[in-house]
Structures are given as C-alpha cells and as structure tokens.
C-alpha cells in the first residue's frame, strides 16, 4: 500500500518490514493487581493470531494495550515499528491504522449505521463526505448489510451490530484489526455470520489479533495460537498443534474444560 505512513519510515525497502505488533516485556497493573507479568508477543504482517485463555488471564488487557486503551505500566509496544508508549507519538494517527472490534459492539446509538461508518473517517481521517460515504457503503456491502445503512443500531440484531462495527473499523482502511471477544455477547445462532466475515477478512490477508473463545475459528483460521494464563504467555504455536497436543499442563487443564 503506497498510502500515508508519515509517522514512521521503514529503513529503505526491507523485505519483511517490522512486525505489525511487537510487545516487549509488557507489565500492567491495576492498583495492587498485576494483570500482565512481562509479556513478549508479536503479530507479523498478514498474520492471524488468536489469543485464548481463562477469564482474568490478561488476554483482553494485552489487546487493549496494543492501541493504548489501557496504559501499560512498563514495557514497550511497537505498532509497525512505532513505539506507541512514547509520549511524542501521535496516538490518534496510529489508532486510525488499528481497527478495533469490541465485545459489546459499541456502535454509536444516536447515529444511523451509515453515519457510524463515516463519522471517524471525516473527523479523524479528514475525508470529504462523498468519499467517506462511498467507502462506508463498500464496507457495509462487504459485511452483507448494504440495505441497513439508514437503520439505527437499536434496530439491528447483535450479529448485525457486530458486523456494522467491523465495517466501521474497516472504513478507516486499517493495516490491522484487533478483535476483543467479538462473539462473546452474541446469541449462539448469530455467531456464525460474524465469524464468516472475520474469516473472509483473514483470507484477504488482513493482519488480525483475535481474543476469542471460539476454538473452531482459532483452529481453522488462525496462523498461530497463543495461550495465556495468569498474566503470562504459557504456550504458543500452530493452532492445530496447541489444541491437539498441548505441551503445558495449564494449557491441558484449560482445553479439557472448553473443548
């Protein structure tokens, strides 16, 4: 993509380029409670990494540190080589390159679906209205909701809302997508449509970090699976390997409960 990347400049044309996300020795505490205890983690460009683990393992906190919705206590978070913990970094600019999808969708309830998709394009990317609308419509069509552009979020099912949320994130033309348990708040029969959209994104080569409980998705779509417990990365590797033949006993204990 020969688009704008003024915040960082890769040294000439390095073949691989920096990882999309690189986390080094990340610590995060909420008061006395240490949630992340020195995480080393990375997502390469074009890679789909699924993060699983019991609740309270710190997986969502790790994901939220990547776009600094949570302030890391210590450690380094590099996004495409840019240190986002550096106070000099233009955080808003970096965030326009990181799409995020929330468990609770977090659509703007006072705005129509179309406006949900164009607002940040105009406010943060300074796109003109016509361009923003065109991009929004393209992404709505992509998630199969072109006919819903005039609806309000409350008129949509949970699955439709989550697909709109994905389209909203995609409308910023991000280089990568973060998914924070995107199907956990959905009725079971609505999960499939959302996962299908995510699978399609992965097939297109989108870089994705997915915190999830959907082991099937992790196995079939993920390039790598990371198992977290107690604020550390316990085990990671090829999803089929980790799920089929877990090495660590904590992984085994967790998987025996969820599979």
């Amino acid at each position: 993509m020969a688009m704008h990347n003024p915040a960082h400049q890769a040294p000439a044309a390095s073949t691989a380029g920096p990882p999309a996300i690189e986390v080094r020795n990340l610590h995060k505490s909420f008061g006395e409670v240490e949630v992340l205890k020195g995480i080393d983690f990375h997502v390469d460009q074009g890679e789909v990494v699924c993060v699983i683990g019991p609740s309270g393992s710190g997986k969502s906190t790790l994901l939220r540190c990547v776009n600094r919705l949570e302030e890391p206590t210590s450690g380094t978070v590099l996004v495409e080589g840019v240190d986002i913990t550096d106070p000099e970094t233009d955080l808003d600019l970096v965030r326009t390159r990181i799409g995020m999808v929330f468990q609770q969708f977090n659509l703007f309830p006072h705005l129509s679906v179309l406006r949900n998709l164009t607002l940040a394009q105009q406010r943060a990317k300074k796109r003109g209205k016509a361009e923003a609308v065109e991009i929004a419509r393209k992404n709505l069509a992509k998630v199969g909701l072109a006919h819903k552009e005039d609806a309000f979020p409350a008129q949509l099912s949970g699955g439709q809302q989550q697909r709109v949320a994905i389209a909203r994130a995609l409308s910023m033309n991000p280089d990568m997508m973060l998914f924070d348990e995107p199907t956990s708040a959905l009725d079971p029969e609505l999960v499939g449509d959302v996962l299908e959209v995510m699978r399609q994104l992965a097939d297109e080569g989108m870089t994705m970090m997915v915190v999830t409980h959907e082991m099937g998705f992790a196995r079939e779509v993920g390039d790598r699976l990371v198992f977290m417990d107690g604020g550390v990365v316990v085990e990671q590797g090829d999803p089929r390997e980790v799920l089929g033949n877990p090495q660590h006993e904590r992984t085994q204990a967790f998987l025996s409960k969820v599979l």
């Binding site: 776009n67 919705l69 808003d92 600019l93 970096v94 965030r95 326009t96 990181i98 799409g99 995020m100 929330f102 609770q104 977090n106 659509l107 703007f108 309830p109 006072h110 607002l119 940040a120 406010r123 943060a124 990317k125 409350a154 949320a165 909203r168 994130a169 910023m172």
Partner: protein
C-alpha cells in the same frame, strides 16, 4: 371460641382462624376495607375545607371577575410575554454556562475542576433571591458597572448564573452516564478527545438529561418571579411583578389568582412533557 366467618361481610365461609381465634379476613376484603377508609377520610377532608372556608370573602377578594377582566390584554402582551422571554434568555444562558462548567468539572486540569466545583457549590448554596438582589444593587456599586437592560438585565444575569450551577450538575451526570465503551470506540477510531466529546458523548448525554433539563426549565419559569426584587420598569414587568402591582392598585387579590392560572398554563404542558419524555426514554433503551 369461634365465631362464624360468615359474619364478616363479603368473605366466603371457612377461612382460617387467626391467632386470636377469630376468623381472619380474606386479603381482598382487607384491601377493600382499607381503601374504603381512605376514600372516607378524603371526602371528610374536602367537606371540612369547604365548610370552614369563607366563600363570600373568597369570591370578593380572589375571584372578582371585573378585576380579572381589567388585567387583559396587558397581562398577556406584557407580563406573560416577559416571563417567557426572561425564561428563554435565562435558560439558554444557563445552558451555555452550565455546559462549560460541566466540562470544567470533568477536566483533567485541576484548577478548572476546583473553580467549577466552587462555583457550583456557591450558587447552589445561595438563595436565588439573594443573588438577584446582589446583582441588582451590590454589583453595580462594587464595580461601578451598570448591567445592560437595567434592573431586569441585572436580575437576568443573576438567574443565568444561578441556573448554570444546577444545569452544570445535570449535564455532568449525563456525560458520566454515557457508557465508557462509547469513548473507547471513538478513541480507537483515532478521534481526538474533543471530537469524541462533541460528536459522541454530548449528543448522548443531552438525550439522557432532557427530562431533568426540562424540569430545570419549569423551575426557571417560576424563578423569574423572583425578579420583582430588582424593581422593574413598567414595560419590563413579568407575571408576578405585574400581579403584585395590580393587587395594590385594585386593593383586591384577584390578580394573584389570574397570575397563578397563567403560570399553570405555561408549566403544566411542560411537566406533562417531562413525564412523556421519561416514559419515552425508558422505552427507547
């Protein structure tokens, strides 16, 4: 010893005996009896008031139709009109100042928070009447400054300042009632804190506080009556000042009743609107 349960009117036979050995009244009978007592008390109270009131005195002092007729059309074209104008000015001014104060109170910058808190506590703690009095008489002397619009203008500035303190607290509560996920979503899309506030938080906050803000408006309508203390020019008089003047001119209290009716004509639709908004809001969520 057991009495026949049939002696209690309206009960079916054979209810369980109560602890004292008496048959217990059926719950529905007890409710009906209790309600009957309530109605009886109410009717008695109304009769008592009607009996004690001096109807002749009321008719001549408060319901003199000739005196009432005399007040029109002046009371509408001047007094009601001014009440409405003052209310609108004070409300818009209070809304603007209140919004600034609410944002200051939520600011990460300490001194802004302190100033806003001090302001809000000060003006919610003072009687509006005293503040109006101060702006009409004390401030012009202290600062050698004549507020625009004379006494009415000075009083209005005071009303704006007082209502802003209440409105600020209402708006702050509304802002804090917007789910944090909304801010996170906007920020994750790269929107600045300012744009997030303007495009995402405030529209939702104002929707949440529309009923309490309408209540503030109703309170403000009534508080314009306090402007009388500032002493107003003839053409500037609002309802209460107008009615008071008419009372002393006519030596009859009927103008107060007429003014009261005028207030109700303005406020009742608004309070009904608040009730409707509250129902509507609840359903919308």
């Amino acid at each position: 010893m057991r009495t026949d349960s049939g002696t209690v009117p309206g009960t079916a036979p054979a209810t369980m005996p109560g602890p004292a050995g008496r048959p217990r009244m059926k719950a529905s009978t007890r409710r009906r009896l209790f309600r009957g007592v309530l109605y009886a008390v109410f009717v008695l109270a109304v009769l008592l008031v009607g009996f004690l009131a001096d109807w002749q005195a009321i008719r001549t002092n408060f319901l003199d139709l000739d005196v009432a007729r005399e007040m029109f059309p002046e009371i509408v074209v001047t007094a009601v009109k001014n009440t409405v104008i003052y209310t609108v000015i004070a409300f818009i001014g209070g809304l603007a100042l209140g919004l600034i104060l609410a944002l200051m109170k939520l600011s990460p910058v300490g001194p802004y928070r302190w100033v806003a808190t001090a302001y809000i506590e000060l003006f919610r703690g003072l009687p509006a009447l005293l503040v109006i009095f101060g702006f009409a008489f004390a401030v012009p002397i202290a600062f050698n400054w004549r507020p625009p619009g004379g006494s009415a203008g000075a009083g209005l500035i005071a009303l704006i300042i007082v209502s802003a303190a209440y409105i600020a607290e209402t708006i702050r509560a509304g802002i804090q009632a917007v789910p944090p996920g909304q801010v996170e979503a906007a920020r994750s899309l790269g929107m600045t804190p300012a744009w997030t506030m303007v495009s995402v938080v405030l529209p939702q906050a104002f929707r949440i506080v529309t009923p309490p803000l309408t209540n503030e408006l109703v309170i403000l309508i009534k508080d314009t009556s306090l402007l009388f203390i500032a002493g107003m020019a003839l053409g500037d008089r609002e309802l209460t000042t107008f009615a008071r003047d008419a009372v002393s001119q006519q030596a009859n209290a009927t103008p107060l009743v007429v003014a009261a009716l005028m207030y109700l004509i303005i406020t009742l639709p608004l309070t009904r609107l608040v009730a409707w908004l509250e129902r509507h809001n609840k359903r919308g969520r």
